[in-house]
Amino acid sequence: MNRLLVVFLSLLVGSVFAHTNEHANLGEQASSIKTSGKVFHESVSIIRKMHPEFLRHKRDKTLRQGVRTDEYSLKGCVLCHANKNKTNNQYHSVDKKGQFCSDCHEQVGVSLDCFSCHRTIPKEGSL
Amino acid sequence: MSNIRFEQIEGKILGFYALIAGLGILVLAALGSVYYMEHHGHFVTGMNNRIVWGMPHVFALFLIAAASGALNVASISSVFNKKLYKPLSRLSGLVALSLLAGGLMVLVLDLGRPDRLIVAMTEYNFKSIFAWNIILYNGFFVVVAVYLWMMFERRMNRFSRKAGLVAFGWRLILTTGTGSIFGFLVAKQAYDAVIMAPMFIIMSFAFGLAFFILILMASYQWTNRPLGDAVVNRLSNLLGVFVAAVMYFVAVYHLGNLYLAENTGVENFILFDGGIYTKLFWYGQIILGELIPMALIYHPATKGNRSTLGLASVLIIIGGLIQLYVIIIGGQAYPMELFPGKEILEGYGGVAQYSTSLPEMSLGVGGVALAIIAVTFLVKLLAFLPESLADDVDDPHHKG
């Protein structure tokens, strides 16, 4: 039992420290915002911890109540954090290995279910 | 009945391990099929947008019905105070739990998103019969587990009757819920009938008892424990009565439907011109699954013979699966009446085609295998089976 507790706690601690890592793969637009010195997410740690909550809250409001504002929109996340393949100028899916979403989710071992249905790249015409 | 001694089976013989291994392979095959179906999507199955529930649901609902029926033996002893059945109560509870586990495994693993089972456990729509069933199934595990505990634990024995009463009530509601999955569907002509609920209850009596008798006879045979004729003949008679009752309900259901003009189409389909479904109904369900077993049980030449009773039980199980196939697949195959008084020339209609795929079949069989593994394993682990069910042990008033 104690051994399990140790394993559990070390995983917990590990996942906290995982947040402190610099993100290697921010995505096209997100990177350019960052290098320009502008602030998009005021607190990176809050968005890292809370984005599932924000998205869940947003999804219910949009789907069930028809509230279609832009805040916390998953489309927005994908738009900024998607990377382009330099050779053929096509977007990589954000849930593909090594891309923004999956990179972190794999590291902390949390499965990612958004993209079994949602579009994984910015919409047509945004290339 | 303090003179009944319960004891685990030894399970050291080769046969025991062979049985576990054989069934284990079936369960593994089922899990492999699930992986295949879920990885590719349901296009690899025979199911489609018209036949949305296929072979897995036939097996799942059969097992769930049989589960509640298998508890009857215990209920007869505790609710109706029949002493003869008391030694069988523990096994009855075990078979019930195992069959339900098998059925639920099939039902859950056929979902489009089985990974979201947690959603089904946390989000309830109380208008949904399905949501009620989820609660009823989970509750059944708890209620029967408590009932078993009361029977096992000497200090708790005095509560076992009350627990049995609760379990009996619960299983009646559970099967009502299972039948109502279909009974409350207004859209489909074959289903919209309240009689579905009591019909499922009586079906569960027959299927569950057939399973129970097979497991009882096999476990006593294979462990060389004595099993007297008094018990077996009583169960055999009961099985015959249940099968007759199922036939009565089937007759009332179909006659009632024939009387309503809006349902004559689907009735003609099942009873007369439905091709495979008509054949399955008459040859499979009625003759193979009901008339022949009744003859085997009651005919003087075969009455009291354990081999024929075993055969009758197997036929009842096969007939039961066929009955559910006709209800579930046949009911969906017949097109809905979208425009009364009009004929649909194009776009919808016609009998929907369905052919079972191997993974679906394998998943269904895996559910049965899981149920039997659970029983096999648990009778070795805990003292479910009386050491002897010889006539003089079981029934003190028996005149040998």
Binding site: F40, R68, S93 | V52, L185, Y348
Partner: protein
């Protein structure tokens, strides 16, 4: 810990990409989209459709079906065969048994006021918005298909295979159930469903059934119309005339 958290902490991006890019580049914190719905929909409206089968040609119906496919991104499934293919909207040819009159019509989710699919759904995934639009919340759908058993209009489809490259406004995925959304993403922007737009005549009218000044309301008051399976008392949002 989330006390310091305020919605304004986050810059709002917009669904219109060009504006979105501009916004980010300028670092402006708020942009809105004209006509985008910002308050919860209410039951003061009830969206509906009236399909006049006398005016609707077969070509119109084919156009409605392809407009729907194009808008919502279904119909290009590669593995699904026969009845496994999705059918959000279907062309039906119906013949009256007595008179022999043949009518063509488009059949899709009828957006019932009392939807059987919503009643039977164990997880509340099948749902009806306040304004009468019936939807599947795919976040909650476990793929049990009970709603498909319950629907009297054969309006729902199950996604039988893995999909990719979905429309941004229309998430669709393997193992969940889907159906006509009445183009809710367009309605919320003040637009009209794609199938309605595709028909050039007034054979299909879309609007608020409750609004006495709307064309659909006024037309329904003056002509004979019917609901499919009216005997079930589901009070559908999609009505037909000339049947």
């Amino acid at each position: 810990m989330s006390k310091t958290l305020n919605r304004r902490d986050f810059i709002k991006t917009t669904s219109a990409t060009t504006i979105g890019v501009a916004t980010i580049a300028n670092g402006i914190t708020l942009t809105t989209f004209a006509g985008t719905n910002k308050t919860p929909v209410t039951n003061e409206k009830r969206w509906g459709m009236l399909i006049d089968t006398n005016k609707l040609s077969e070509i119109d119906i084919d156009g409605m079906v392809s407009a729907c496919k194009k808008e919502q991104g279904w119909g290009s499934e590669v593995h699904s065969t026969g009845n496994q293919k999705p059918g959000w909207i279907k062309k039906l040819k119906v013949k009256d048994k007595a008179t022999g009159k043949v009518s063509n019509l488009a059949l899709m989710c009828q957006h019932c006021e009392e939807p059987p699919c919503v009643d039977v759904c164990p997880t509340n995934a099948s749902m009806k918005r306040e304004d009468g639009i019936v939807l599947v919340d795919k976040h909650l759908c476990i793929g049990c298909r009970y709603c498909m058993m319950a629907c009297p209009y054969d309006a729902r489809s199950f996604v039988h295979e893995t999909l990719s490259n979905q429309k941004e406004h229309m998430p669709r995925g393997k193992g969940t159930v889907e159906s006509c959304t009445m183009c809710v993403h367009k309605i919320d922007k003040g637009e009209v469903p794609a199938c309605v737009t595709s028909v050039n005549s007034d054979a299909v009218i879309f609007g608020d059934l409750y609004d006495a000044s709307s064309k659909i309301n006024q037309t329904l008051k003056t002509i004979q119309s019917a609901q499919i399976r009216a005997d079930l008392n589901l009070n559908t949002g999609v009505r037909y005339s000339g049947l």
